[in-house]
């Protein structure tokens, strides 16, 4: 095949002399052959028009139509089918190939069945893919301030031969000094012994003609360079070479710079990824905690339901207090549609700041108490309407708790009242009660569990627990059916500022600096714990602990640190918060101490000191006590060690808080509700459609949060 020899060079060998090509190039553009060849092209195109779409077009059409079925492999396969070397017979039977392909065929045959490798297929396959990718408009120089050398310049600068000029120059500078035996020295130091010293001189290539000029006979020591003569031409050449080398160095330097910049960018990107991953990790941790809580709740539920089915009664005892309950609660499905972090309901509660609030369950019943208002309001959270009011106290209600239908309130009159929220009725009816102020003691036994007396036949309600007449009565008073007040617990001589009940145990704390434990079933005061005594007799391990300047005797009153809006009040609640669990009781008091009591002995067995202002709120679980104080901080204590586990600082005094394993939500003297994520340690604030004055109290269950502010409104949030 004579054709193969000329063609093989270009197509596969790649060694056709460049001049050859140049000539061809020149001739084709000048000679009439160019025109004829283009005519030939046209002819061949015409002839094979129906087959011309063979490669690109058909595949492109196919890929456009069904990109899914045209995998790159398939495309490559199809694309190379036509180009695959075949027997010449095949190609003649299939005239679908154009002349160029036909021309290529014999050379491939001539080379002796060179097979198309898979790599080659891959390369051809990627070609179309690469062509499809966008070509950025920015030239490489635009990216950095410093121009980036082109790849070719980089190649020239870094390729090994770039150093050849330097090596050559160095060689020209070698002088024919008297034999020093340098090679032997170097070998000797490396522990090698060269046996023939003769092989030494071939290392140094010195211009031969200079060797003659060197004064060989001179014995005296002289500079090595003294007798060296290069000649103008050589020196000029070296100058040029050095200039080029410097340029190369410059190129290499900028290459390294751009590499460093690239690595820096990559590190930054990786840092970003790492931060993202760490966040994901925290999120997982949070999810795990949530699952733990959910599991607890499910197990609790299981226990409850099995005990119910065993006993057969559907009205089993209350599940443990809602304050201790963890995990999800039952929410209407619509709750999920609410945007999280937005207050979706507002309840107007008169004109004075909210002093206390609690609710039975999400979308259940809410009781709110306001300053200078002795009658807490009862709300239906489903409709957002006020159902009625709890009338009976004669002072501001400072503390209250709601569990299911039972509500306990403590007021500045020193009384604690128990209410059945099912019996709360509209205002119209209850406003009459004050008039029918008769038959106080007469119906003491009528413990209205029948619920029949809703009519006006036996409307008997205990009026205000007046300071005079009522004190003479027994400590507990049983109310008759229609009134929501079930019991009045009297005993504290001053304002009740904190209370907590679980099952039948109620603990109250009052400004008379005592804590009292009550039995809700009987209404008896079981125990009185004197805080003053505890302060003066601190547990041995703790160095005496009350705030400096705090006087044990007399009334407790400290000015609050101002709220975010600048307003402030005199803080008088000596006992800011209590919580109990079985025999354990924790109190937070005005001396800044968090005390842990044993209700079997009535002794404070441990005092957690750290707060520098009155403790206003606290909550504890199996592991931690979390307390908020007017010293503008929330402290998380470790119950086992008694040390501070974490301190969260705020800008203003903390007045209320609640926490679970994942977060601490608190009222921090600002308009927004503060949320602290315990896993990611991030703070966030709820303020969308929020309060217009600082938040005072709050309480949440699962993803349902209520907050009461100094703007006399209660906001309901979806978390």
């Amino acid at each position: 095949m004579p054709a193969s020899s000329s063609g093989s060079g270009t197509s596969s060998m790649g060694v056709t002399p460049n001049d050859n090509l140049r000539e061809e190039l020149a001739s084709s553009s000048s000679q009439p052959g160019f025109a004829s060849s283009s005519r030939l092209d046209a002819v061949s195109r015409k002839l094979f028009a129906p087959f011309h779409h063979r490669k690109r077009d058909s595949h492109r059409i196919l890929t456009d139509l069904a990109p899914v079925i045209m995998t790159p492999k398939m495309m490559a396969h199809a694309q190379t089918v036509s180009a695959r070397p075949r027997a010449i017979g095949t190609s003649s039977t299939r005239p679908a190939l154009d002349f160029a392909t036909l021309g290529r065929t014999p050379l491939r045959l001539g080379l002796g069945a060179r097979r198309t490798t898979s790599r080659e297929l891959e390369v051809v396959e990627t070609a179309s893919e690469l062509l499809a990718t966008a070509l950025p408009d920015a030239s490489p120089d635009d990216k950095l301030g410093m121009p980036m050398p082109s790849l070719l310049r980089g190649f020239e600068a870094t390729v090994p031969s770039a150093d050849s000029a330097r090596v050559r120059r160095r060689a020209t500078r070698n002088v024919d000094a008297p034999r020093l035996g340098l090679k032997r020295l170097s070998l000797g130091t490396r522990g090698l012994m060269a046996d023939d010293a003769e092989s030494e001189d071939d290392v140094v290539v010195v211009a031969r003609e200079q060797r003659g000029r060197r004064g060989r006979k001179k014995r005296g020591r002289e500079s090595l360079s003294a007798n060296k003569v290069f000649g103008r031409e050589e020196l000029e050449r070296q100058t040029r070479e050095i200039a080029r080398d410097k340029e190369n160095l410059h190129v290499r330097r900028s290459l390294l710079h751009s590499d460093i910049a690239e690595v820096t960018a990559k590190i930054e990107a990786l840092d970003g990824i790492r931060i993202k991953l760490e966040e994901d990790l925290l999120k997982l941790q949070e999810d795990e905690l949530e699952l733990d809580d959910e599991l607890l709740m499910v197990q609790e539920r299981l226990e409850l339901e099995t005990s119910q089915s065993r006993s057969g009664s559907m009205h089993a005892t209350l599940m443990s207090s809602s304050r201790r309950r963890k995990g999800p609660v039952f929410l209407p499905s619509e709750h999920d549609e609410l945007p999280p972090g937005v207050a979706f309901m507002t309840l107007e509660c008169g004109s004075t700041p909210i002093t206390s609030l609690d609710f039975s369950e999400p979308y259940g019943t809410l009781v709110t108490a306001s300053q200078e208002d002795a009658q807490p309001r009862v709300w239906d959270l489903l409709s957002g309407e006020e159902i009625g009011r709890l009338r009976g106290h004669v002072g501001t209600v400072k503390a209250l708790q709601v569990e299911a239908h039972l509500c306990v309130t403590g007021a500045t009159d020193g009384a604690v009242r128990l209410w059945d929220l099912r019996r709360v009725d509209g205002d119209a009816e209850t406003s009459e009660w004050d008039l029918s102020d008769v038959l106080e003691e007469a119906e003491e036994e009528a413990n209205g569990d029948t619920g029949t007396g809703t009519g006006d036949s036996v409307v008997v309600e205990r009026p205000h627990a007046g300071p005079n007449g009522t004190r003479s009565r027994s400590r507990t008073t049983t109310e008759d059916a229609p009134g929501p007040c079930i019991r009045v617990l009297e005993g504290h001589s001053k304002a009740v500022t904190a209370l907590y009940f679980e099952n039948d145990t109620l603990v109250t704390g009052a400004s008379d600096k005592t804590l009292r434990q009550w039995d809700l079933a009987t209404g008896q005061c079981v125990m009185t714990m004197d805080l003053l005594w505890a302060i003066s007799h601190p547990p041995a391990t703790v160095p005496g602990g009350h705030l400096p300047g705090f006087s044990v005797a007399g009334t407790f009153a400290v000015p609050m640190p101002p709220y975010a809006d600048g307003s402030w009040e005199l803080y008088q609640d000596f006992i800011g918060a209590v919580q109990s669990w079985e025999y354990a009781l924790v109190s937070g008091s005005g001396d800044g101490a968090v005390r842990m009591w044993d209700m079997r002995t009535g002794q404070a067995h441990r005092t957690l000191l750290g707060h520098t202002g009155p403790v206003t709120c606290l909550q504890f679980d199996e592991i931690h006590v979390v307390s908020g104080s007017l010293d503008k901080s929330v402290r998380i204590w470790d119950l086992r060690t008694g040390g501070v586990f974490e301190t969260i600082k705020y800008e203003h005094g903390v007045t209320a808080l609640q926490f679970d394993s994942r977060k601490v939500i608190c009222a921090g003297g600002e308009n927004g509700v503060k949320i602290y994520n315990r896993t990611s340690m991030q703070h966030s604030t709820l303020s969308t459609n929020g309060h217009t004055r600082p938040v005072e109290k709050l309480r949440y269950m699962d993803r349902y949060l209520l907050s009461g502010g100094r703007d006399a409104t209660v906001k309901i949030w979806a978390l």
Binding site: G7, S11, V15
Partner: protein
């Protein structure tokens, strides 16, 4: 707009010495082992491979160039030319042509690309001539045979 600085096609025909290519390869493999390959090293090796007369080398070189093309958007324009050259050397004129024309779209004034374009056209044409010659030869042989047969048939 700046025109990419690229060598003439003739440069691609001058192959590196074995040692030089070996140095480039070692450098590249060292960086691969370190899992950070700089573009320049990759290109050096790829360009060395493309310059090589061994077809396997050329293929590998083009693959590396395609890699660079994919990962370095700022180098794409330069790479287009080298890809075109690589394919041209491999004899994949269709690919070479499309890469080169893609570059010419952006840089119509690029002399190197212009000359490569002409070179590719010539190579295609030459193959066309060969093809025609073969086809012609086959046709002639066919005609002769046919004529012989006809004559033989006529003689009978």
């Amino acid at each position: 707009m700046k025109i990419a600085e690229v060598p003439y096609a003739a440069d691609a025909k001058v192959s590196l010495s074995y040692d030089e290519l070996q140095v480039l390869r070692t450098q590249y493999e060292k960086e691969v082992a370190q899992t950070h390959v700089t573009t320049q090293t990759k290109f050096n090796y790829a360009w060395g491979l493309v310059k090589s007369p061994v077809r396997e080398h050329q293929v590998e070189g083009v693959q590396l160039l395609a890699d660079i093309y994919r990962s370095e958007p700022t180098r794409r324009r330069e790479c287009l030319y080298y890809l075109a050259l690589g394919h041209y050397k491999m004899g994949n004129y269709d690919e070479a042509k499309s890469f080169n024309s893609r570059l010419l779209e952006r840089e119509p004034a690029n002399l190197q690309a212009q000359s490569l374009d002409i070179l590719i056209d010539q190579a295609v044409k030459r193959e066309g001539y060969i093809g025609m010659a073969i086809a012609g030869g086959a046709a002639a042989v066919g005609t002769l045979l046919l004529a012989g047969l006809v004559r033989r048939a006529a003689r009978k």
